[in-house]
């Protein structure tokens, strides 16, 4: 009976109720919708960005300048069979560099912190405080991006402009390559800080989950062999779960790369210049898609809007590969765990 019932298929043959048909086909339709949405997102980005892909060619990866061209002149410039305003040049190198550098900085700050916090959450927080602490950390991951941006504008940026920048300028002259000072506070450092604050809760929560599902016997075994608890964690537990920890970091990296509003509010929205110091203004792919919308809509050829779609497509491709790599690693990690 159990086998017949659980399989479902043979049940359907023996007793077909109308509700059964409705549910079966109705839920199949919704699942098809979910699957279709993912493909539609990719397909419409490609179709809409196609004129820009043809117009810009590889130039979008090599050109520094993001220039809509002369909006008031007559005539058009044609590349690859599509036309843009005269003098138009859509280069994304500033945004790509900004995205990569700010995410790398943020990861460098957030990853060690998240590992430490995950260890503290799992091993050090007393049992009765575990739920409130976990809730707080998860709540931190739920704070909206735009509120982090508000905090960035209100606290972080002034602090960099008034304290950190002048401090570096005055006391650390040998490190002048990182910048002579922060004019406005908006820029690479502010972006990296805010990204680090935003991604580390989700990273710490995932890492804590990894730690709590790891067999306790490894920790206890190490203690039994005479290791101190800290040695047990650092020499036995962490190496054993390193793939999953790496995957957790990659998932957080996917967040950092796609983060928009907070970055937009503190990055300084640089155009046409690469950052020369850690205090310099930057721009990221995600931020520029929002900040350039208004100007793009003024382009009568529509090529600026298409180029923004191309940026969205590039961002989609980057986050997709980061997330898929994380998933593959996570699955590999599961295999390792099963053999332990």
């Amino acid at each position: 009976m159990a086998i017949v019932a659980l399989s479902g298929a043979s049940q359907r043959r023996s007793r077909v109720a109308p509700l059964d048909i409705v549910l079966r086909y109705g839920t199949t339709a919704t699942a098809a919708t979910t699957a279709a949405i993912v493909f539609l997102v990719a397909a419409f980005l490609v179709v809409y960005a196609y004129p820009a892909l043809a117009f810009n060619g590889f130039g979008i990866l090599t050109h520094l300048e993001w220039n809509l061209g002369n909006q008031y002149g007559t005539g058009v410039e044609r590349h690859g069979g599509f036309s843009g305003a005269p003098g138009a040049s859509f280069g994304a190198i500033v945004f790509i560099v900004g995205t990569v550098v700010s995410s790398a900085f943020a990861m460098a700050i957030a990853t060690p912190l998240a590992i430490l916090v995950a260890i503290a959450m799992h091993y050090q927080v007393p049992r009765r405080l575990k739920t409130p602490v976990n809730t707080l950390v998860e709540l931190m991951a739920g704070v909206p991006s735009v509120v982090y941006g508000l905090w960035g504008i209100g606290v972080l940026v002034p602090w960099i402009a008034n304290s950190l920048g002048p401090f570096f300028a005055a006391h650390v002259p040998m490190l002048s390559f990182i910048g002579s000072g922060a004019a406005s506070g908006n820029g690479l450092l502010a972006t990296a800080f805010i990204l680090a604050v935003m991604i580390f809760p989700i990273m710490a929560a995932t890492m804590r989950d990894v730690l709590s599902t790891f067999p306790k016997i490894v920790f206890e075994g190490a203690i039994g062999l005479g290791a101190t608890p800290w040695q047990a964690v650092t020499t036995m537990v962490l190496p054993a779960i390193r793939t999953q920890m790496f995957a957790a970091a990659m998932l957080a990296l996917g967040r950092a790369v796609g983060e928009t509003m907070a970055v937009l509010m503190v990055c300084g929205s640089a155009l046409n210049q690469l950052p020369q110091s850690v205090f310099a203004p930057i721009n990221t792919i995600a931020a520029v898609i929002v900040s350039q919308l208004d100007s793009a809509l003024t382009d009568p050829t529509g090529m600026a809007e298409r180029s923004l779609a191309e940026l969205a497509l590039i961002l989609f491709a980057i986050t997709l590969s980061v997330n898929l790599i994380a998933r593959l690693i996570m699955r590999g990690g599961d295999r390792v765990k099963r053999t332990v």
Binding site: M1, A2, A5, L6, G8, R15, A17, L19, D20, L23, R24, T27, T28, T30, T34, A35, I37, V38, V41, L45, L113, L116, M121, Y123, Q124, P126, T131, L136, L139, G142, V143, P144, S145, V146, V147, Y148, G149, L150, W151, G154, V155, V197, F200, P201, A204, P229, W230, T234, T260, M261, M265, I289, V290, L308, A309, A312, F316, L320, N323, R327
Partner: protein
């Protein structure tokens, strides 16, 4: 060293052991890692509380009753239109995501054969990783431009729905998968059909988990900005009930744009909106989590 002493059995034991040996240096060397990790946790919580304090200390005083009854006007005014707009967008998105997300989750856990199931689960994970600004641009292309809806409730609501979808699908799927086999077999033993067991045994059992995830996703949708800029637009007027061709104001837009205006009234409005939003999100999150805890405890007790 207090953090370490708090920490319970293994660490404390080692700390006491080295104390009796009387070598402070050894104690320090053994526990320095724990001190650092505890300090990291404390500073993380401190940053969180600092952000809360920053927003609430400035936002709560600005949160006057008339904000709820007047609309924004240029750089100042109230928040009535934005509050209503946010609620309308989120309710629209929740209604849609309940239909599609629950359906997909039920299909994944109950009807799908292995290969399509793995494929749709992979796609759901992919969707969870798509940046919200990309979802916004997709909504702009398909709904605002091609479908010609312009900035609208339906456009913004569907964009928010796409953001929420992976969480709700995953939550429904996991909650239904976690229903104990014996419970379902009990239903089958009484002669119930597959669908009857799903609707009368599995679904009620899984409901707390499903609703927790739906609430958490609602919290995320409340705070989203990037997918709405391209799809919902903004207006200084109360949102109309038209699904298309009528832009919808929302709270996060107020925070984003009004903080960069050079006027104190605009800043006050941005902080008031942020405080309101934070309170809505905290209530949603805490309610979701405490509800989940209670339900889980009750279910464990019943079994």
């Amino acid at each position: 060293m207090n953090e370490v002493a708090m920490s319970g059995s293994p660490v404390q034991a080692s700390a006491t052991r080295s104390m009796t040996r009387g070598s402070v240096l050894v104690t320090v060397r053994r526990n320095i890692g724990w001190v650092v990790s505890a300090a990291a946790l404390c500073s993380a919580l401190a940053i969180l509380l600092a952000i809360f304090w920053f927003v609430l200390a400035r936002g709560l005083p600005a949160l006057k009753p008339q904000l709820f009854t007047t609309v924004t006007s240029g750089i100042a005014g109230g928040l009535e239109n934005a509050i209503l707009g946010t609620l309308m967008l989120v309710i629209f998105a929740v209604a849609l995501v309940a239909l599609i997300g629950f359906g997909t989750g039920i299909w994944l856990s109950s009807y799908a054969s292995p290969k399509p199931r793995a494929f749709v689960r992979l796609l759901t994970d992919v969707l969870a990783g798509v940046p919200s600004v990309v979802v916004g641009y997709f909504g702009y292309i398909l709904l605002v431009k091609i479908a010609g809806w312009q900035f609208s409730l339906a456009g913004g609501g569907i964009a928010l729905m796409i953001i929420m979808l992976p969480y709700v699908v995953r939550g429904t799927d996991l909650a239904l998968e976690a229903v104990p086999r014996e419970l379902r077999e009990g239903g089958f033993a009484l002669g119930a059909t597959y669908t009857t067991v799903l609707m009368t045994v599995s679904w009620p059992y899984a409901l707390p988990g499903i609703f927790t995830m739906l609430l958490l996703a609602t919290g995320i949708a409340l705070g989203e900005t990037a997918p709405l800029i391209y799809t919902a637009g903004w207006s200084n007027y109360l949102p109309s009930l038209h699904l298309t061709h009528s832009p919808v104001p929302y709270l996060t837009y107020v925070i984003w744009t009004f903080i960069s205006q050079p006027f104190a009234e605009s800043h006050a409005l941005a902080f008031a909106a942020a405080a309101l939003l934070m309170m809505m999100i905290v209530v949603t999150n805490v309610f979701a989590r405490s509800w989940l805890e209670n339900m889980a405890r009750k279910q464990r007790g019943e079994r």
